[in-house]
């Protein structure tokens, strides 16, 4: 058994994985834990923090490893990770994402950016940054990003081995979804190769973020009693962009008849309408745009639309200004 390359005061090598539901962070944590404990002989623990079982809600998975003769007596989340894995670019800049990351931390980011651009994107003070376009691999292999990221992990920690992770992937997927094993193994193997890694010294360009629990705005002095929310519709502030998995509908107003069926089928109430006066001088409802802030990319509207006014596009191929504007007048606008 390889000695753990680095441990904290309590003897742990600690891993934090940040994701949203549906990308397989929970399963990835379980696979790593089993690989470390059952295949490699360490002691350790693994758990996730999540609320309800929804696709698209924030998830963090944690894994701790220690020497086989060290007792695990910590239950709280990992605050100073030795390895931080960020499953999606779209959550990478969430507050607290880099909290507790130090010069010895390895940060793995799923992104198409190169490693220097990714460092600036994250604002990483120091540490070893690893980038991999796991989403691209997952789309190509029809899998999820988790096995690609496991591939990277099996190369960079110095103690989690390729074979141990591979065996557990085979066991885990083989038990329930045997047909998916080859694609997942291929995704995993691509993950072991298609990454770039660079170490950044603390050069003062960005400041490290210390772990902190302070800063709760609503507390016992000002929380309205009884938990009542004396406000309406405040979820409109939320940005659900991170819930999408690569595809978006695009509204072509040139083809839209404002029939109203998209509004029936959209679970996320993304369509904005307005009353307009038509040529005959009559007031009528006209579809204005899609609010992508709320769109989770389910593409129900595309299925529903009889007029090809709504079509499916790969999100990163669509110009950002179209997403801001919420529609096109001609589908050619989507071609960069």
């Amino acid at each position: 058994m390889q000695k753990l390359p680095i441990v904290n005061d309590l003897g742990f090598y600690e891993i934090r994985m940040a994701s949203i539901g549906g990308f397989g962070a929970n399963v990835a944590g379980k696979i790593l834990g089993e690989a470390g404990i059952l295949k490699l002989g360490y002691n350790g623990s693994n758990f996730s923090s999540y609320g309800s079982e929804k696709k698209g809600s924030p998830v963090a998975a944690f894994v701790r490893f220690c020497a086989p003769d060290v007792a695990v007596r910590v239950n709280s989340p990992v605050t100073e990770p030795h390895l931080l894995v960020i499953f999606l670019e779209s959550i990478a800049r969430n507050p607290g994402m880099l909290s507790g990351v130090g010069p010895d931390t390895i940060v793995i980011l799923n992104t198409g950016m190169d490693v220097d651009a990714a460092r600036d994107f994250l604002g990483l003070a120091a540490g070893t940054l690893v980038v991999i376009d796991a989403m691209k691999i997952a789309v190509e292999e029809k899998t999820r990003v988790n096995t690609a990221l496991l591939g990277v992990i099996s190369q960079v920690t110095g103690f989690i081995t390729h074979d141990a992770v591979k065996e557990i992937i085979e066991e885990t997927f083989g038990k329930k979804y045997a047909a998916t094993v080859p694609a997942n193994i291929k995704t995993f193997e691509r993950g072991t190769k298609e990454f770039t890694m660079k170490k950044f010294a603390p050069d003062g360009k960005y400041q490290p973020q210390a772990f902190s629990r302070a800063g709760q705005k609503l507390g016992y002095l000002n929380q309205p009693i009884g938990g009542v929310i004396p406000a309406a519709g405040t979820s409109m502030y939320k940005d659900l962009t991170a819930s999408r998995s690569g595809y978006i509908p695009v509204l072509n107003r040139g083809k839209c008849t404002s029939c109203g069926e998209c509004d029936i089928t959209c679970p996320d109430y993304c369509f904005e309408w307005a009353g307009e006066t038509n040529k005959k001088g009559k007031q009528e409802q006209v579809l204005q745009r899609i609010h992508y802030q709320y769109c989770k990319g389910c593409l129900r509207c595309v299925e529903m639309c009889k007029f090809e006014a709504l079509t499916t596009h790969v999100e990163y191929e669509v110009d950002k200004h179209i997403i801001e504007k919420g529609y096109v007048n001609d589908i050619k606008e989507t071609q960069k």
Partner: protein
């Protein structure tokens, strides 16, 4: 850092290393002991126990008969009945599930029927909180049950085995709770040891011995007589004696377990207490953290220690007195408050116990921590030890009782109010008209134009957190297009509720109430009747009009069926809407009574010994039709004009006559396992195979709104079932019998509705 030696040969039983969570360990030990019956009802975070057990059952690893209750109260009833019949019974629950069943628990103990309940501790609502604290545990300390506390997955396994044996002992005959911490323990995987051979565990507990059995015709007996004074007090005295007799039994069984497993337990665990001057008393997972910190402080020369009860009932009072002999200050940390008593339950127990030692001078003080699942970090333990050291030094506690970890907040911050109220004029766009045809007595709905109805303000705002492609929001959103004017909504606990109201944001642009899903319909009827009464008294203008709508999932109509039917029978002027997605999706897809036969869920698995759900789906529309309310309907987003038309009628009936019940077919891409974008198509195929007939019942007269055969659209159920991952197994040859039984039942129910539609008297 503490070193431990993992020695799987320390005990006499062969054991093997595994990596399992508290829930997995609970399920594993119960499977290995091969209990007879489990009555259960899913509730986070204990749900997985039943899931793992069902998964193992499908693979033939045990024969535990698993019975899903209609709610925790029903589950407790199943357990009680099963224990009278002379076998081993297990249940797992949490939080409000425990409280919902609580009146059954003294019945179990008072009639002296042993069983084991794994309490996976969680914060008791409301407001709803799914994470771990001890407010549920503290509400069952005086019910006559033995209470064991398991701080990690290993002790969950061990203590369930121990509790089984202790409770069944002839000197005890009491039911047991084995409590571990929700999420911290239930969902945390640890390296563990489990017995290699089930037989070793089965030999340890031995065959079940009953005193009386309700199913032995040769020895008739009466269980649960009518017993007032002077007898009841004697029954309770016996219970109390048994509780105290259990102390010696527990000690013996712990010793036996140690021999077998190599793992030692004591009723009160002590850590570095030999010469401790300042100590923390703390339960379960947080005790681990406290011990870790105690080691660190000891290294700095501070005389600190930790005590944690492994048996909380009977309370290890004498053991605590011994442990505290030299302790100057004891901070008792409670993960639940006893409001108004200046300390949590364990603080009060500790104070009472130490008071009985006349020589004891320990300063005992209280901190309430970790409520609602707030994490307990080493920093928290350090702060607590510092408080205890300070009290030890001074000889008194500067603050005898306080909350640890509650935050004052920023008083300059206000919750932003995003949307103004919806004016009545805006929500009354005059698109739809509903008129009663005086000749036929029927309602005529005109103007269902989806384009014009996009002018209807959204009662539910975007930004909710439902899964992509969710069927709830198209269904409810479309229904609301047909409802004019002011609306007050009550949503039951469930997916729809959780994704819309995560504090401090809300997706509701109208007033919204949540109540737990046993009780939404009565709650809304209460709000409605208060509105009417205040209107009658002139406190609310007479022309104010509000439509009261309750929204529930099919799960909420399992556990809340009785109260909802009661509300219907009272015929309040309100609407009950059920979005039926055929399972308990909010907790991760367990079977509901609405799950169709053969469908796979996490508690109706598919394997060599089980093929999905074993009984047919519940027909809630017909149940409500039997209450003779003015209007019952079924509808689906795929037939949205029909759905909006029914909404408009529903509002008319709720305004003029009484209660309306509507059932909506609601897809769940995540758990049905289908593509996010096929909701409409999938819904239509369920309708076209007759599974979900679209019909309405007005004043007892049924009208079938859509007959697939008549329209030339009739499909076989395989076209519907083939579209979902949860049902694809039903298309396999070996499952032809289930498929056939399913098809027959679906057709029979459809033909019945059709016949009713043709005959007004039916």
């Amino acid at each position: 850092m503490k070193t431990e030696t993992l020695n799987d040969t320390k005990g006499t039983a062969q054991q093997e290393i595994d990596f399992l969570s508290g829930n997995e360990m609970a399920a594993t030990v119960v499977a290995q002991m091969n209990f007879h019956v489990m009555g259960y009802y899913p509730i986070t975070p204990s749900t997985e126990v039943a899931e793992y057990l069902d998964e193992m059952r499908a693979e033939g690893k045990h024969q535990l008969k698993m019975i899903p209750g209609d709610g925790e109260h029903g589950a407790a009833g199943i357990c009680y009945g099963a224990t009278t019949a002379g076998g081993r019974v297990f249940n797992a629950t949490s939080a409000n599930g425990l409280l919902y069943s609580i009146e059954q628990l003294p019945v179990q103990s008072g009639t002296r029927m042993p069983m084991v309940l794994n309490l996976v501790c969680r914060s008791v609502s409301g407001p709803l909180d799914i994470r771990g604290d001890h407010s549920d545990l503290y509400s069952c300390l005086n019910l006559g049950w033995l209470v064991f506390c398991a701080k990690d997955p290993q002790s969950s396994y061990d203590l369930i085995a121990v509790a089984t044996k202790v409770g069944e002992h002839m000197d005890v005959r009491l039911p047991s709770i084995v409590a571990n911490d929700g999420f911290f323990t239930s969902h945390q995987k640890r390296r563990v040891l489990r017995f290699k051979n089930d037989k070793d565990l089965q030999d340890f507990i031995g065959p079940y011995k009953y005193i009386h059995s309700s199913v032995d015709p040769n020895t008739p007996a009466t269980f649960g007589p009518y017993m007032n004074d002077p007898d009841q007090i004697n029954n309770k005295k016996q219970l109390s004696l048994a509780m105290h007799a259990s102390e010696a039994v527990i000690d013996n069984v712990f010793a036996e377990w140690e021999k077998l497993s190599g793992r030692k337990y004591t009723r009160l665990a002590t850590y570095r207490m030999e010469d401790a001057e300042a100590a923390i008393m703390i339960l379960n997972s947080a005790a681990d953290t406290a011990m870790e910190v105690a080691d660190r402080l000891r290294a700095q020369g501070k005389k600190v220690g930790v005590v944690y009860p492994i048996v909380l009932r009977p309370f290890p009072a004498e053991e605590l007195r011994q442990a505290c002999k030299g302790v100057k200050a004891l901070l008792v940390a409670d993960r639940a408050d006893v409001y108004g008593a200046n300390g949590g339950a364990m603080t009060l127990d500790a104070k009472a116990a130490l008071k009985d030692d006349p020589d004891n001078k320990t300063v005992v003080f209280s901190r309430i921590y970790g409520l609602g699942g707030k994490d307990y970090y080493d920093l928290d333990a350090i702060e607590m030890f510092n408080l205890a050291l300070d009290a030890a030094d001074k000889g008194f506690a500067a603050v005898p009782y306080d909350y640890h970890g509650a935050e004052p907040g920023d008083v300059t911050y206000k919750i932003p109010a995003k949307n103004p109220p919806i004016p009545k004029e805006k929500s009354t766009p005059h698109v739809i008209t509903v008129e009663k045809d005086e000749k036929t007595g029927q309602l005529v709905v005109k103007g269902v134009k989806q384009r014009d109805l996009t002018a209807m303000p959204q009662r539910i705002a975007p930004g909710h957190g439902a899964c992509p492609g969710c069927g709830i929001f198209p269904n409810i959103g479309t229904f609301l297009k047909g409802i004019e004017g002011h609306v007050v909504m009550l949503w039951h606990t469930g997916c729809g509720m959780v994704v819309t109201t995560g504090y401090p944001t809300t997706s509701f642009n109208v007033t919204y109430i949540h109540n737990l899903f046993q009780n939404g319909a009565p709650t809304l009827s209460g709000a409605l009747e208060m509105f009417k009464e205040r209107q009658r008294r002139g406190e609310i203008p007479a022309d104010e009009d509000i439509t009261f709508i309750m929204v529930t999932g099919d799960g909420g109509l399992d556990i809340g069926l009785g109260p909802a039917l009661g509300t219907a029978i009272r015929n309040h002027k309100m609407i009950i809407l059920e979005y039926d997605n055929q399972g308990y999706m909010n907790t991760g897809h367990q079977l509901s009574f609405a799950t169709p036969m053969g469908h796979q869920t996490s508690t109706s698995n598919v394997g060599p010994f089980e093929t999905g759900k074993s009984f047919h789906h519940k027909d809630s529309a017909q149940l409500f039709a039997a209450t003779h309310i003015p209007y019952v309907f079924t509808a689906a987003e795929s037939n949205y004009k029909d759905l909006i038309r029914k909404a408009a009628k529903a509002q008319w009936y709720a305004r003029n006559e009484g209660l309306v019940f509507g059932k909506l077919f609601s897809v769940c891409p995540l758990n049905w396992r289908h593509a996010d974008d096929i909701g409409q198509e999938l819904t239509q195929s369920a309708i076209d195979c007759n599974f979900f007939p679209l019909y309405e019942v007005e004043h007892g007269i049924t009208t079938l709104n859509y007959d697939p055969a008549e329209k030339g659209q009739k499909k076989d159920i395989t076209e519907w079932l083939g579209k979902m991952g949860k049902t694809r197994h039903l298309l396999k040859k070996e499952n032809a019998a289930i498929l056939d039984a399913s098809r027959k039942e679906i057709d029979r129910r459809f033909e019945r509705i059709k016949a009713m539609s043709q005959h007004p008297l039916l």
